[in-house]
Symmetry: C2
Subunit: 133 residues, 2 copies
DNA sequence: CAACGTTACGGCTGACGTAACAATT
DNA sequence: AATTGTTACGTCAGCCGTAACGTTG
């Protein structure tokens, strides 16, 4: 199973119609029908049932629609997060500090400002060895 | 991007070594290297950095590893849920009841037993039209 | 120079499109 | 009979393997 199958499946589920789904996907009905059949075989359950003109989701199909959407959304977010991590907008920064700094007020103030500006960056403070406290 | 790329990426991330990852995937290094390069190009960020013998994850790579694992896990669960839905073990069942049944004690007791046996099935109770309460 | 990752080239699986077929309204 | 989904068949993109090449410890 690949994301391709999930994209095809969602299109058919939303259109309730192979022809229109294929048109929206810019492919023809034939490969769409085959990919759905292959997906159903891999899952081990029918996802659609015939319904007059077009198709409806089976119970398994309704469940799988949720999962397919969630999977695609998670994949999209994974890419976005990776890009933001590359730009340093999310991730973790480790700040080593000498013991005295803890009391100066400068460090907490700076960290506070940084966190306000970059809420998705985790700031980890580690005391340097040989320092008090 | 396809799930294939995520599986390949996770293998390399865990092995920190293209050769061993390829061996584990039962392919050779060449296609593995290309798929990772293609993935990096699609994301728009380098996922690995050279590190002596082998590679390490870049910041973007660390972020993407979480997302890739979560995406694969979500896809797996989607299939499992679809199968269970096909067997009627999860999903929704709507129970229509005539007003008097609400007071007999039979209906609540039956629903309670059913829910205990099938905790992932949502039981929706709807009063039938023309009933009291 | 030894080990590792990347690029080049050829083979093959599999996804696609056109067209013929089946089935349902 | 018309519309919709499925199956048949040939084409082509894309993934894979072998091998040659760069690069780094």
């Amino acid at each position: 199973m690949e994301l391709l199958h999930l994209r095809y499946f969602i299109a058919v589920a939303e259109a309730e119609h192979f022809g229109r789904a294929a048109e929206q996907l810019h492919i023809s009905q034939s490969p769409l029908s085959r990919q759905i059949a292959q997906l159903e075989e891999e899952i081990g359950a029918k996802l659609f049932v015939a319904s007059g003109r077009g198709v409806k989701l089976s119970p398994a199909g309704r469940s799988f629609l949720e999962g397919a959407r969630a999977t695609l959304a998670r994949a999209t977010r994974a890419v976005e997060d990776a890009l933001e991590a590359a730009q340093g907008r999310i991730g973790t920064v480790v700040v080593g500090f000498e013991g005295g700094m803890a009391y100066s007020g400068l460090l907490p103030r700076g960290v506070q400002m940084f966190r306000a500006r970059h809420p998705r960056v985790e700031v980890r403070l580690v005391p340097l060895p040989g320092s008090p406290t």
